[in-house]
């Protein structure tokens, strides 16, 4: 039933609202059961909506376990350590779930719909494009190093010349290149733009809202 595309088509403003609500709820929860339910739901959303590379998943699990181990050592209470680790997850998961399931176009339409100042829409759009571009550029630079026989993961002394310098060049030129790209495509934040697909409330938005309230209800029931 839960299609991979479901979350992608939910209203971005609704996703922003629910993400903020999750952060607020995660900060106010005090019982382990409630936060476990919240984190399980978030993880389920993440796994069903986004393809996560195995390496990244393993790295996150290891970091999570280390966090619990460190917490147990310092607090001498594994349950409290687990609670804090889960709270950290509950605080950090909504952002990637939201960010990775919202296309730049949908974000711009959403921000225009709430009449956000155009310079803010432009800045957010550039930031939205920036993160995946930099990730892609880093990957290409790492590959180019390997093609030259340099395994950067085993040669940290070459990180500066092999990765940081070319990456900084790319980051510096990125701002200009993308602004030129935007302007040559006729984007002018000071002029009105057509919204060809205006944001409308869809049935899936109602489903998402009801499901969110239901989950918040369960979490509240466990908490109190």
């Amino acid at each position: 039933m839960f299609s991979r595309k479901f979350l992608f088509s939910v209203n971005p403003l609704l996703k922003i609202g629910v993400s903020l609500a999750i952060v607020a709820v995660a900060l106010s929860l005090k019982t382990l059961d409630a936060i476990v339910v919240l984190v399980i739901v978030l993880l389920a959303l993440l796994v069903t909506s986004i393809r996560i590379p195995l390496k990244s998943a393993i790295a996150v699990i290891i970091a999570f376990l280390l966090f619990i181990a460190f917490g147990t050592l310092t607090l001498s209470n594994w349950q409290l350590a687990l609670f804090y680790a889960l709270r950290l997850l509950a605080l950090s998961l909504p952002a990637p779930v939201f960010a990775l399931t919202t296309s730049p176009t949908d974000l711009v339409r959403a921000l225009q719909a709430i009449k956000l100042p155009s310079f803010l829409v432009l800045s957010l759009m550039l930031v939205w494009r920036f993160l995946p571009v930099i990730q892609q550029e880093s990957q290409r630079i790492l590959e180019a190093n390997q093609l030259r026989g340099v395994e950067l993961s085993r040669q940290p002394h070459r990180w500066f010349s092999g990765l940081f310098v070319p990456l900084v060049f790319r980051i510096v030129s990125y701002a200009d290149e993308v602004t030129i790209g935007l302007e040559t495509r006729g984007y002018d934040p000071s002029l009105p733009r057509t919204i060809s697909k205006p944001l409308t409330w869809q049935s899936r938005d109602t489903v998402f809202t009801i499901a969110s309230w239901l989950i918040f209800g369960i979490v509240a029931h466990l908490e109190f």
């Binding site: 026989g149 290149e177 495509r185 060809s196």
Partner: protein
């Protein structure tokens, strides 16, 4: 009346004394298709950048002279204001893509023009059908190859129907069929009244449709367009007795159909041909180890391909499409491991102390080839050899590759230019 008039335009980059453009005059009327040629670094892209307003806004320098649209000076207009009348296809189209779906990308430009919302779906459908993209309209842009992205951005820009079109190497990544399709399309847009100015190195393709052609040399018009330097035809050599250096069998990856088997002997050159998106770059990535094949085997120098890319890289060098990812050294000389001979062969000896990133795109491309060959690989993979290369620059690269194969190296190259296959005496493998 001329749509675009350029009067005594000069541009000098900040920190330089020699102007990159000097006293350029040009008049382009509605329905005209103007071709600008010239060697790499001759000022072609600088000229288009000046027309579009990118120079001096983003490229620091001093601009003088005048630029007019329908006899009205636009010299003090910014890029955004000019873009209402000038459609501009940049050399690197990736920087002009802002959405993640094909139909959204076409809509983006039309929304920027603030067209009535009810007109936009029809214009999107017209652009999709004009470019045979209707079936792919819901594809994500990530799925597209370089050539398909090029086609998409051209479709986006043509859909905006500005009266003047500036295009920097629109044919660069296009296969033969897409190129001939674009030729017809440009002619029909010119016939409908658009004024088109384009830079292109694939002169064999575009010269027949241009109404005017100009050649830039060191920032000035040459009075006579020089004869196109043709690429020398290499003599056929029998390689059947040479040892096999690379063998690929039953390779497949992702959604591509199985790749044809490939056997490459020392001294041999293979040209991979096929339409945009058929998997040429993917096959090169499989051979270099950047991707792991879903099925099939690769044998390198008679042994199974090692797992680690760095081990594969001892035998295989790969010249990527974008040279900016492959330059790491502090100077041109260091980049080729102090091999001055390679720099001489690539006509880069005057730049040996310069930082690699300060070179022009064409020079960077030559340098990455030099850097790869300086490591003395057994096999050199070269993705899209002709992109950004004028005939002279391309000849230098081809000459170096010929010497490499004569010394026993093997080459796999992708290109849409049939001259490349002739010049290298290449075997053609169609995907």
């Amino acid at each position: 009346m001329a749509e675009l008039t350029i009067e005594n335009l000069s541009f000098t980059y900040a920190g330089q004394t020699q102007p990159a453009l000097q006293d350029i005059n040009l008049s382009v009327s509605s329905g005209e298709l103007v071709l600008i040629t010239g060697a790499t670094g001759s000022g072609k892209s600088t000229l288009l950048n000046c027309i579009a307003g990118i120079a001096p806004t983003y490229t620091a320098g001093i601009l003088s002279g005048d630029l007019c649209y329908q006899n009205q000076s636009i010299l003090h207009w910014d890029i955004k204001a000019r873009s209402r009348y000038l459609g501009f296809l940049l050399q690197n189209v990736e920087t002009q893509i802002f959405t993640d779906r094909i139909s959204d990308e076409i809509a983006f430009g039309l929304e920027n023009l603030n067209l009535p919302p009810e007109q936009i779906p029809d214009l999107i459908n017209a652009a999709l059908s004009e470019f045979n993209l209707t079936q792919q309209q819901h594809w994500t842009i990530q799925q597209l190859s370089a050539g398909q992205k090029q086609r998409l951005v051209i479709a986006c820009i043509l859909a905006m129907k500005q009266p003047i079109l500036l295009m920097d190497e629109p044919f660069a990544y296009l296969d033969r069929a897409s190129a001939s399709f674009l030729l017809d399309l440009l002619q029909s847009h010119a016939a409908q009244g658009q004024a088109i100015v384009l830079i292109e190195h694939r002169l064999d393709l575009v010269q027949s449709i241009c109404t005017q052609s100009f050649c830039l040399h060191k920032g000035q018009w040459l009075t006579q367009t020089p004869k196109i330097q043709s690429v020398d035809r290499s003599s056929e050599v029998d390689h059947s007795t040479k040892p096999i250096v690379l063998q690929c069998r039953n390779l497949s990856w992702g959604g591509y159909p199985q790749f044809p088997d490939l056997t490459l002997r020392a001294g041999e050159t293979t040209l991979l041909q096929g339409e945009n998106g058929c998997g040429k770059t993917t096959l090169l990535k499989l051979i270099s180890g950047l991707l792991r094949p879903t099925t099939g085997t690769i044998e390198l120098l008679g042994k199974p391909q090692p797992r680690r890319i760095v081990e594969i890289s001892r035998a295989i060098g790969f010249v990527l499409q974008n040279p900016n990812h492959q330059l790491f050294a502090e100077s041109v000389l260091q980049e080729v491991q102090n091999d001055r001979e390679i720099l001489t062969q690539l006509n880069l000896e005057e730049q040996l102390e310069r930082h690699p990133r300060s070179l022009s795109q064409g020079q960077k491309r030559r340098l990455t080839l030099g850097a790869v060959l300086a490591r003395r690989p057994k096999v050199c993979l070269l993705d899209e050899i002709t992109v950004g290369q004028d005939a002279t620059s391309l000849n230098l690269m081809l000459e170096l590759l010929k010497r490499f194969t004569q010394a026993g190296g093997a080459v796999i190259v992708t290109s849409y230019d049939p001259q490349v296959a002739n010049a290298l005496g290449a075997k053609i493998l169609t995907l």
